[in-house]
Symmetry: D2
Subunit: 342 residues, 4 copies
């Protein structure tokens, strides 16, 4: 049993971490913090956790975070970069679900996140927590930058093509659709039921923060720069990301086989049979990414469909997967929930 | 480990049974039948079960149901009454999720279900599977009539008041709201997304099949006839039942305490603190019923709010709970999923 | 042509007023105010109005409200009571869509709305704008208190029974369900898509502000006090209210005929044939209230189903209907939109 | 006043035609047919039309279709091609909302629609009813092939780029998302609320019937063959299509201006200001197509966002627009509804 703490537990990634960690056989939830709701029982804010989580939200100042083996940051951007260093010095391992340590290029990060980075040295140390790429580094890491939701779905869908050098790196398109929980549990007009319901729209077409993160990952896999057109959309579902990826074939191969081979040993990536169309609900509440590969009309464009639950494989589930790797647990521990359908 | 079979596995209660039983530590899923989809892999119809359920749907004629310890009927009404007898004779215990054995009065049943009952003798034997009322009988039973979804939410909400004789039996009102999955996985225009979505309506106001079932249970608890006005509504959510119950006080007591005492030992009934409003999502995907008791403006009307997931505590979860009791397993086995929120 | 102004145009009742008034053949929209968005084009905030409304939001201080023939307040509670007096003195007629002038008992109003009322004298003068009750008074009125959404659906459903003295006044129950737009276009966590979507809950069971408004109307119709249990629920649809009303019969009559006679001359109340179940979408975007009357199992409880679009007959549409009456226009003018289905 | 008839009035395009035609000042609705519901009042199936449409569904054999000036076919594919000829001979003008006359290449049509075409000669005569392209031909036409929903949104978004020769014709991508009403009012499991709700998926990636229709239109505009990758998706909204279009720039120009110029005289195409993201709800219930043009990061890929209401500009509204043109009415007649928001 290890001791775990959560900083910032009142958002959707926080409550999802609670759901997963409360059932994890090797984890004792030691503390959870909330600036705004300190002193209130977790189950009062999230009645779904009545009987499962008996913690009270602690003020960040009083929380025994340094007594934890691992601390998760489920905070807005800009918090973890200020607090992670002290915890690392105390010997605590840190998994940051925010974007603070994801982008290696500090100038680029500061441009997209519109603040000064206070811990560039930790960015150097941080391991990008996509286990399907960095498993060995994750095992040794003290500090994990847990990937964003769009970047997880998009990279897992593009990686086999890019690593194998089969597709043109200059004409990639990622048309991605997210459920509304991706915007977080924040009181914003644009996320209201009467605004986001029965409605569909693109947003951030001129530039979205997840674009540099995706490009960084794909460029590293290609060992060359890539050009990606990335268009995110808001779709009226609660959970789920569907990435529709387009790539032009440069070199022929058996693409279905390529994907199956690439992920043969990955427990959380499921390559569907040819002609499949993965549904977001087929991964709802689970840590699985399902992928299908198409080549419409035998042309030179590949279409890859990649779905995840943005709060699980796109956030809290991947964080727990990273924790499992870091502490040498079975990678599936606490992550075997069967997707909820319907 | 016991061997379990499912008859009729392509509906929502079927796939929900699969989700629960596939994770149950004491159950081996031996067989699942489907007339229409025999020969097809379960995971082809329900990709959410890829990697979790490897069965192929069997033709009912070929399925080794008699080798099972327990068989669940997740069939339309009228099937279990024809097939249960033979299984019982073979020593198999049967849990029927349809309505075939729920109503003791055969004439009443035939009126509401518009067919002749072929096994009245089994109706006599069948135990109504509401554990909070019949736990001891369930333990001994060969044949369980698993309660309907509305009847579960409504009875659990009314029972403390009626058993204690505190309320008038002639003026009960149950205003109940169900998610669309309650109508099953049947191709019907009224259940289409574009019909049921962004829409709210009552139905069956002149009479609904669950009315006699509820009246039977409440009358038995009261040891006297009850009059109930029952109005079901269709609401645009996938899972969930919310029963709003109205009863006139006949005798004063501490009603909050009454509910807490009645369900003190029940793992799956959660009485919320005073002034609470349970949400359907607070029980989504779980076997819990959450209840709150109100007395608006100190008048003589009690308002009880009772929520369940219609596919879990209202169907498959309660069936597994009954199975746990019948086979002397811990009643919570396989039913400890934390509700999914958001 | 009359000149109309709107105070507070960025909420849902504001944009709905714009939709209706922009198409009204006898109305020129002169000005619309917004404290927060002054200087911004209406169509920038509401692109649905591009090409239909060319106004720019004015600062309330600069808006030529006194040059209008009629001014609508689509403001939070507490604003109209401060500003209406000055406009009335300038000869402008005022229709207030907020709650400031709805409750005649000032003490009661102050209790429910938690503020001091600044214009009790205007409350005396204000006419409650339910045309089906007060048409003649509305015609003469300078100041209209436009009814709330729940009160409109509930009163129209109860009125025939209460005016005729057919039902018991002490055991009325109104179980009402509202779409999320009823909570307004305010950034609140409880109205987020991921909170209110795929979820159903009651709220305000111990007391809701619309309760005294409904009781006032029903008591006046009965010429006697009434006791009403009123339970509002939040349901995952954007527009629509469904009120399910329960009343005990005191005196027999032909209840279907009673309703048809009561509303025979009402253009916006539609009594459905016996055994009908009105859907909220059958009135979506229209000013119609559809009502069905049931007597389940021939008992002594009547069940009345009443649906409206909360933003039209429950707010902006009724306001335009009141305006039509006040200015001697055909009552249907600008209100003949056919409901949107699906 | 002209006399209009509708063949096949119980689907979503049928009820939408009824909504629009019932309010059209120059149209008398003479007859509407339904094989399955003949003899039933229209308002019984669609209570939203109570008071607006008093017709009874006629059996197709008895309907006075030949007495109409115009007949709309809102039928499944394969019906209009059998019945249009006789009506044309009788001097009736025909607008077919199905796909029977859309594809000029009969072999291609037969491949995608899997039936033999019975009236190839009428295909030759039929005018493709996209007014923004074929207005003059439509004016003279006896027979209109009303465009599909995806083809309308996609062609209007691509046309300025293709007509002007600015983009590469071999690398076009259309990533399109449709509301569920696009699947029609048919009892199909895949369109159930509990299947399509809270879910997102692509479908028909290997080939969709609207692909040849779009390619035909774009090739004609280019006067050269085009290669298009077209991926349709099902999204949980009732109405609305959002097409996200990708094209590679071949020749520089002011693309915003290009679009504004192309549609300067088009009443139903609205080019949004730079950096806009049109929402599907901004055109809900209206005949407008709203388009925004983006060039992310100044690269060589243009992203065009195009939204319509699939049942209006994508079906019934465009049919009425075509009728207006054919009968020399003002093109906006009966089509000035303001979009419904929220």
């Amino acid at each position: 049993m290890i001791k775990a703490g959560i900083v910032g537990g009142t958002g959707y990634t926080g409550v999802e971490l609670l759901r997963l960690l409360a059932q994890h056989p090797e984890v004792e939830l030691l503390t959870i913090t909330s600036r705004g709701d300190a002193g209130m029982a977790v189950s009062e804010i999230f009645p779904s956790l009545r009987g499962a989580v008996n913690l009270v939200f602690s003020d960040p100042k009083d929380a025994p975070l340094e007594h934890c083996d691992v601390v998760f940051f489920a905070t807005p951007n800009g918090i973890a970069m200020q607090q992670a260093g002290k915890l690392l010095q105390a010997g605590v391992r840190v998994i940051d679900l925010s974007a603070d340590f994801r982008i290696k290029d500090i100038t680029e990060w500061e441009k997209w996140y519109a603040m000064e980075h206070t811990s560039p040295n930790l960015v150097v140390e941080a391991v990008y927590g996509l286990p399907e790429v960095n498993r060995d580094l994750i095992r040794q890491a003290r500090l994990i930058a847990n990937p964003g939701c769009y970047p997880t779905a998009t990279q897992l869908g593009f990686l086999p093509l890019i690593e194998s050098g089969c597709v043109d790196l200059n004409t990639l398109v990622a048309d991605a659709k997210s459920g509304v929980s991706g915007a977080g549990r924040k009181a914003e007009v644009s996320s209201l039921f009467s605004e986001a319901g029965d409605n569909f729209k693109a947003y951030g077409v001129s530039g979205h923060r997840h674009l540099p993160e995706i490009k960084q990952g794909l460029s590293k896999a290609a060992n060359a720069p890539v050009w990606l057109t990335f268009v995110p959309h808001l779709t009226p579902l609660i959970r789920g990301i569907h990435a529709t990826l387009y790539a032009r074939i440069k070199r022929e191969t058996d693409f279905q086989q390529l994907f199956e081979d690439r992920y043969a040993d990955e427990a959380f990536v499921d390559i569907l049979p040819p002609k499949s169309h993965p549904e977001t609900r087929s991964v709802r509440a689970s840590n699985t990414c399902r992928i299908a590969v198409h080549r419409p009309q035998g042309g030179d464009v590949l279409v890859v469909l990649s779905v995840i639950d943005n709060l699980v494989k796109g956030a809290a589930g991947q964080a727990v997967q990273n924790m499992n790797i870091m502490f040498n647990f079975n990678e599936l521990l606490g992550l075997t929930q069967i997707p909820l359908l319907p």
